[in-house]
């Protein structure tokens, strides 16, 4: 039991290392093909080391360390994602519980869901009169859909058997909510949250490129203006890794609440 666990872990580490090596090889290949116009892994590593040496320096509004930029972005993502979830979860539960509310809201959801974050940005600017508010607004409005849809899907599919238990034993509305609806829907909800945070993290870069000021998106834009392709590459790797970590976090959360495989 323990032995296979160790074997599995070692296997995972080895395959991850191999995968990273493959990425570096492809990257190096592209660098050679473009005659070093795109910096290779080694050149990028040098720049990365400098950037990470002092991640939290702050030399005024347009010159901040990568750590500060990252925290600024994460903070915005969590704000936007948090507000989105606070809207999406209750609305999803309502839509799942009532056919009428479902019919009322479903067309709205279908129309608004595919709209690009960039299209929302001017509206956000108008509404909030500030770029920072607009960025959070576009994260909220583009990331709430998967949570909304998955939550309502979960609620719609609560098995008749569970509902009958609630009726047969006279559960109150509150007990039905906390002992049946939420436990059953939670894995669906977390899947929705996981997709939503993925979208939020994608949108933040676009949002910060438009709004400027701070954040990892602004950093990419700023590096482009400063013609430092290495910095852009480092930023891409950071964006990717943070996205991966966020995804893993929600996956672990889902596992923790999945009663099916307990």
């Amino acid at each position: 039991m323990k032995n296979t666990f160790i074997k599995n872990t070692i296997g995972q580490i080895v395959s991850f290392a191999a995968s990273m090596l493959l990425l570096c090889l492809i990257w190096q290949g592209i660098t050679i093909l473009t005659e070093s116009e795109i910096p290779g892994p080694i050149a990028t590593w040098q720049v990365a080391k400098e950037m990470f040496a002092e991640p939290f320096y702050d030399y005024g509004p347009n010159d901040k360390g990568i750590g500060l930029q990252l925290t600024a972005s994460l903070w915005r993502v969590f704000l936007g994602f948090g507000i989105g979830s606070l809207i999406a979860i209750p609305l999803g539960i309502l839509m799942g519980s009532s056919k009428f509310i479902m019919r009322l809201f479903d067309p709205i959801v279908q129309i608004l869901r595919p709209v690009s974050p960039l299209a929302w940005f001017p509206l956000g600017l108008l509404a909030f009169k500030a770029a920072a508010g607009a960025t959070i607004f576009i994260i909220t409005i583009t990331s709430l859909w998967p949570t909304l849809i998955n939550t309502s899907f979960g609620v719609v599919h609560i098995p008749e058997d569970h509902k009958n238990v609630s009726k047969a034993f006279g559960f109150s509305k509150f007990k039905y909510l906390t002992k049946i609806l939420i436990p059953y829907t939670l894995p669906h909800m977390i899947t929705g949250l996981r997709l939503s945070i993925g979208i939020a993290w994608m949108v933040i870069v676009a949002g910060e490129m438009l709004s400027g000021g701070s954040g990892i998106g602004f950093f990419v834009w700023d590096s482009w203006n400063g013609l430092s392709l290495e910095k852009i590459l480092v930023a891409i790797l950071i964006i990717g890794s943070v996205g991966l970590l966020l995804d893993k976090f929600f996956n672990t959360l889902k596992m923790a609440f999945a009663w099916e495989n307990k």
Binding site: H162, N164, V165, A168, F169, G170, I180, Y184, K262
Partner: protein, 304 residues
Amino acid sequence: MPGKINNLLNLLTMKNLTQEELDLLQAEEAETKEEIAKLLAPTAIKIKNVTVSFKSKKGLYTALEDISLDIKKGEIISLIGHSGCGKSTLMNTISGMVNPTSGEVIANEQVVKGPGPDRGIVFQNYSLLPWLTVFQNIYEAVDSSFKNISKEEKKAIVEKNLKMVNLWEHQHKLPGHLSGGMKQRVAIARAFAINPKILLLDEPFGALDALTKSAMHIELLKLWNLDNRDKTIVMVTHDIEEAIFLSDRVVVLNNGPASTIKEIVDIPLERPRNKKEIVHHPKYKEIHDKLLSLLIDKFSISDY
């Protein structure tokens, strides 16, 4: 009954009763009272011309057709019939989980519109909540049914019922980690714990071994005996011995589609019944044979 009353009158008209005769008189009187009380008992469940049809892709499937049955308060009734004949469907019309296509069911003086805690149910598929432990599954039901008692008292009820079904040591397990028989016992404990006026049991002991089954029969009768035998119990079973041992009447259903009641067999064996002795009762064999032939009339040995 009339025979007994005649007997009684005869005894009463005699003079100079011996002690033996006096005892007999008292015993008969008590028995007669009990029987009269039974006859006068109010109806607990009234099934009135119930027809149940299900919509399917191929059209309408009528499972039950025009079923009427009166069940008295304090009666134990067994439903038997072949698989798929509509026993669960009939139970579900009483519990309120299936609405009759026509006709109605009256339980506890009210037309059944949906499930409710006045009718405790053991579902055929147990229906435990998979994210709650054994203890919590019962606790939530108790918590909903008893509003005016403290948390400690509720916990004590759960404990008592879990001990009754021998699952106290397994109280922290999730249903996914229980065997079929264990799940069934949790479902039984849950239905017993809320102490309903009407108990609806859909094959409650089907997944249990003979020994556990016997123990559960005793517990069921104990529960029934508790409040002056005024709990009404309707039970689905495939087990003829079980039906005879427990019931006052056995309702045999025809095969579907459009099942009706084939026959209602009275079980006039006096209580308390003893499992070992009852089989030697002269009426036992008669009833057993009758039920058996009602169930398997279509097939005889010569068919093979």
